[in-house]
């Protein structure tokens, strides 16, 4: 993990073993972005470009006869990114599986973000339905990334059924409350054989950096970029933060201590008692 890096002036020029690997596919960027809540398609496209993200989530909705030209697929495909349709709107595993199949049919992508949250008040993922859906979809050949509660036991079960990554929430979707589940996310990372991606709740680039410093494989950000004063500028800030956090993780953070550990010599040469 720590070999093969070539740093020049703070830029990572070459990093052979530093790709995020999901379902056998390599991604250089460890920032995943969502496409919700943007004020316009152009603002969204500019933000995705600024983020450098290579894996981008989209949602399904019913075709609107009043606005037949509303189509997110063709402008996104032109960016050369990989789409990851989500199953938002599904209330149970059966609906999520159908949504995943529709998403694959439309995008041509095997990636799916399994997202089953029956309660609009808190949007917490249903762990039982999420588990069932992931199990079925992994068997069907999907590259499955479940949005999940920050639960280390469930994370391991989802890994066992063939998920490509697990995506524990940092805090409630769109809440901007950051990494309130940090301790649980650390426990998930410690045990996980697949990438752990913090999804939901992140507000500031520093929180994305903190998640990467913990050893997350990536972070998924939507609202924090879409609802920023300048979405493209915020997307760029997140890209830098994710790179910094990832580099810090690879560099190896120093050990913590319960007491002070001096960085300068403490010889009392000014005390004048050497006489």
């Amino acid at each position: 993990m720590k070999c093969c890096h070539l740093w020049v002036g703070g830029d990572l020029l070459m990093n052979i073993e530093n790709s995020l690997i999901l379902g056998g596919q390599k991604f250089e960027s460890r920032l995943l972005v969502g496409t919700g809540k943007f004020s316009s398609v152009d603002v969204m496209l500019a933000a995705i470009t600024a983020s450098g993200a290579q894996l981008v989530t989209v949602a399904l909705r019913r075709f609107n006869r009043e606005r037949p030209s509303d189509d997110l697929l063709s402008p996104l495909i032109k960016l050369g990114i990989t789409l990851m349709p989500n199953t938002s709107g599904a209330r149970n595993a059966a609906e999520a599986v159908r949504a995943a199949m529709l998403g694959r049919e439309l995008s041509g992508s095997r990636f799916v973000k399994v997202e089953i949250h029956p309660n609009p008040h808190h949007l917490m993922p249903d762990p039982l339905e999420t588990y069932d859906a992931c199990k079925q979809l992994a068997k069907e050949g999907f590259i499955v990334l479940p949005y999940m509660p920050a639960d280390p036991v469930l994370a391991k079960r989802l890994e066992d059924v063939g998920c490509a990554a697990v995506m524990p929430l940092g805090s409630a979707i769109g809440s901007g409350h950051g990494l309130s589940t940090a301790e649980m996310v650390k426990l998930i990372i410690a045990d996980s054989g697949i990438p752990v991606i913090v999804d939901a709740g992140i507000r500031a680039p520093s929180e994305a950096a903190a998640a990467m410093e913990m050893g997350c494989g990536a972070v998924l950000v939507n609202s924090a970029i879409a609802a920023a004063g300048d979405p493209a500028a915020m997307a760029s800030a997140f890209a830098m933060a994710v790179k910094a956090g990832s580099a810090a993780w690879q560099a190896g953070l120093m050990a913590q201590s319960g007491h002070a550990v001096a960085t300068s010599p403490l010889t009392s040469f000014l005390a004048g008692d050497q006489a």
Partner: protein, 66 residues
Amino acid sequence: MKILVNGIQHEHKGRGTLDMLLNELGAQPDAVAIMVNDQVIPRTDRTAITLKEGDRVEVLSFMGGG
């Protein structure tokens, strides 16, 4: 022929293939996925399927989402 499209009653005037229905709805064939009576229909089967009276058709496209 009366069918249900995205939960709304629709009078289909063609021969009942999905390509004809999409044309009638003004939908771009490449921008939508279709489900008939809860079954996802692959793009390649769109001309092979013939709709029947009372069928429930869902026509879906991508929108922004996280």
